[in-house]
């Protein structure tokens, strides 16, 4: 291949004068790193939520009184099953249990180990447990975070739960919940439904909520309406609504970061404008010389825009790669807490590496457009330097 003289000279010029671009490159890398780290975290969390939601039942039915969620009677199952199109209604028992210090809590989930599970992940979990042993006495499966908490508080084998009637209920740790569902299961305790009801103070004839499946997607809207009219205090949540709610929540969280980024970027654009005006005017003599020996305005524009583009590309590649390492290899210390909030027992979360084309292209687009747009005018004004400047 014939090498282009222009590219040769461009490379020469760029590397000989890289000091001019050093400061802007470093700041660019820092900005791109921050933005991509945040967006990587949010898209990874969204992804894991999508996966776990995908494994869940299509509908959740709750009872709401006075705006508060309350337990509902088991008989509702029969009524629901009479609705056409509805399949596989299952009961769920769950609730928060606050430990002694009343500050940390765990999510207790009671499941019917003998029945079919509404959730695929749970199904796998149940398969892996030796049921005969598990159900023989009071046993539970705990998430990583819960296990760590209990160990730290000298309950390595089991825990004495305080039931609402004031009695203590001793439950032994049978095992931990495998890490595959890390995000959702970290502060979870899984136990048989009867036991969970006792600890959470739920009456024997009641459950927390129900789930059901509707295999035909097209019927979702009509069935949702039909069920909602069955009882005056019933509330129906669809999987799609939950997906949307999560989507919005994380859009909101990363949107706030994005706004902050844009404000920073606006400042940076001004700095860039000034900086490049300065750098270029120090090169005025040299540019005048290039013009004098036969470079056209178009040639200078090309040279200078290539330089800016190079800065953008280099900072983009480095910034994004650093962010990838930070988020997915070093588990994003500090930033992740801002994202998940302080609610979980323990935030040691392994994010699933997801590199989303939308995220990558968004970062590239906004950064390149803002950067090049802000150097466009300084670049033009240096490119039209009069060649006679070289003679002064």
């Amino acid at each position: 291949m014939r090498s282009s003289p222009f590219l040769y000279f461009f490379t020469l010029q760029f590397f000989r004068e890289y000091k001019n671009h050093l400061a802007t490159t470093v700041i660019s890398i820092a900005l791109i790193f921050l933005l991509s780290a945040v967006l990587f975290i949010s898209s990874s969390i969204k992804y894991s939520i999508d996966i776990s939601l995908g494994a869940q039942a299509d509908f959740v039915v709750e009872r709401v009184r006075g705006g508060k969620k309350v337990d509902l009677p088991i008989e509702w199952i029969d009524t629901l099953l009479e609705t056409r199109g509805v399949q596989k209604v299952t009961t769920r028992v769950h609730g928060r249990y606050f430990f002694e210090d009343k500050r940390e809590w765990a999510l207790i989930v009671g499941i019917d180990f003998m029945d079919e599970q509404s959730n695929r992940a749970l199904e796998k979990l149940v398969e892996s447990v030796d049921l005969e042993k598990f159900l023989f006495s009071s046993n539970m499966l705990v998430g990583d975070g819960v296990q760590r908490y209990l160990k730290e508080h000298f309950y390595p084998k089991g825990y004495n739960f305080l039931t609402p009637d004031g009695k203590y209920k001793k439950v032994s740790i049978f095992g931990t919940i495998p890490n595959s569902l890390n995000l959702m299961s970290n502060n979870m305790i899984i136990m048989p439904q009867e036991l969970a009801k006792e600890i959470l103070g739920i009456k024997k004839s009641m459950v927390t909520d129900l789930t059901l499946n509707v295999p035909n997607d097209n019927l979702w809207d009509s069935i949702s309406d039909k069920i909602a009219s069955l009882y005056y205090d019933i509330r129906v949540l669809t999987k799609r609504e939950m997906q949307k709610a999560y989507e919005n929540m994380y859009n909101y969280k990363s949107g706030v970061f994005l706004m902050l980024f844009l404000i920073t970027m606006a400042t940076f654009v001004l700095i860039l404008y000034q900086r490049y005006s300065m750098v270029f005017s120090s090169q005025r003599r040299n540019i005048g010389l290039l013009r004098a020996v036969g470079w056209s305005i178009r040639d200078i524009l090309k040279l200078k825009l290539y330089e800016s583009l190079m800065v953008v590309l280099v900072s983009y590649v480095i910034g994004v790669s650093l962010a990838y390492l930070y988020v997915f290899v070093f588990d994003s210390p500090v930033l992740i807490d801002m994202f998940l909030g302080g609610e979980n027992l323990d935030h040691k979360i392994k994010l699933i590496p997801v590199v989303d084309f939308g995220v990558l292209s968004s970062i590239f687009l906004i950064y390149t457009v803002a950067f090049i747009a802000s150097v466009l005018i300084p670049t033009w004004s240096i490119a039209v330097t009069d060649p006679k400047e070289a003679m002064l």
């Binding site: 003289p5 040299n286 040639d299 070289a390």
Partner: protein, 221 residues
């Protein structure tokens, strides 16, 4: 080769109009060597700039090779400078962060489309100006005479018809100045049209055929 008719170049400063060049008519034939003489501020540099297409006249006509250059759009004018004109500047005007070789090939970049050709032409120019031995040295470390020779090599690298020199010996000692005149003689023998703006008396009687033109306050006398 170069025909100048009724050329004016003025600068509007405040409410006064300052004429740097006034009513210039000049014809320079192919292969001629013209020495522009005049005191400081008489308009020598301005005239050279207009002949080389670096500056634009305020009125009048400048023809080079039968083509009017005073109103050419930038793309064509730049191309004209690249192909037809070689300039040796008053202060050498080298790019300090580049080596001699890199400085010399600069005029070829926008017009050449093959790096091989660029290297060939650069080597030839360096040989002509006998600076090949300092090809890879940073120009900021060269001596004045060597810098001058790099400047000569850069002026001839694209094999232009016209060589313009602005005060070429202002910063040189006598010995180097004489060497420079030798180089000019060589270029003259190669058939280049040479225009030298200077007030150095060394150029008063050159060892080859030349014409001296006097400028005074922007007018030819």
């Amino acid at each position: 080769m170069i025909t100048i008719e009724a050329l004016q170049r003025y600068f509007d400063g405040g409410d006064e109009r300052f004429y740097a060049l006034k009513d210039i008519d000049l014809h320079i034939g192919r292969g001629e060597c013209v020495v522009l003489k005049g005191v400081s501020g008489s308009g020598k540099t301005t005239l050279l700039g207009i002949i080389g297409g670096l500056d634009k006249p305020s009125s009048g006509k400048v023809m080079v090779d039968g083509e009017p250059i005073s109103k050419l759009p930038d793309l064509h004018l730049s191309n004209f400078r690249a192909q037809k004109i070689g300039i040796i500047f008053q202060h050498y005007n080298l790019m300090d962060h580049l080596t001699s070789r890199e400085n010399i090939l600069v005029p070829l970049i926008p017009v050449a489309n093959d790096m091989h050709r660029v290297e060939e032409m650069t080597d030839a120019a360096m040989k002509l100006a006998s600076i090949s031995h300092k090809a890879d040295m940073q120009t900021s470390r060269l001596s004045g005479g060597e810098k001058q020779r790099v400047a000569i090599a850069r002026a001839v690298v694209s094999d232009p018809d016209i060589i313009l020199c602005d005060e070429p010996t202002a910063n040189l000692d006598r010995e180097n100045s004489l060497k420079f005149i030798e180089s000019i003689q060589m270029l003259h023998q190669l058939g280049k049209t040479v225009v030298i703006a200077t007030h150095d008396p060394l150029f008063d009687d050159l060892p080859f055929k030349s014409r001296v033109v006097h400028l005074e306050d922007g007018r030819l006398v």
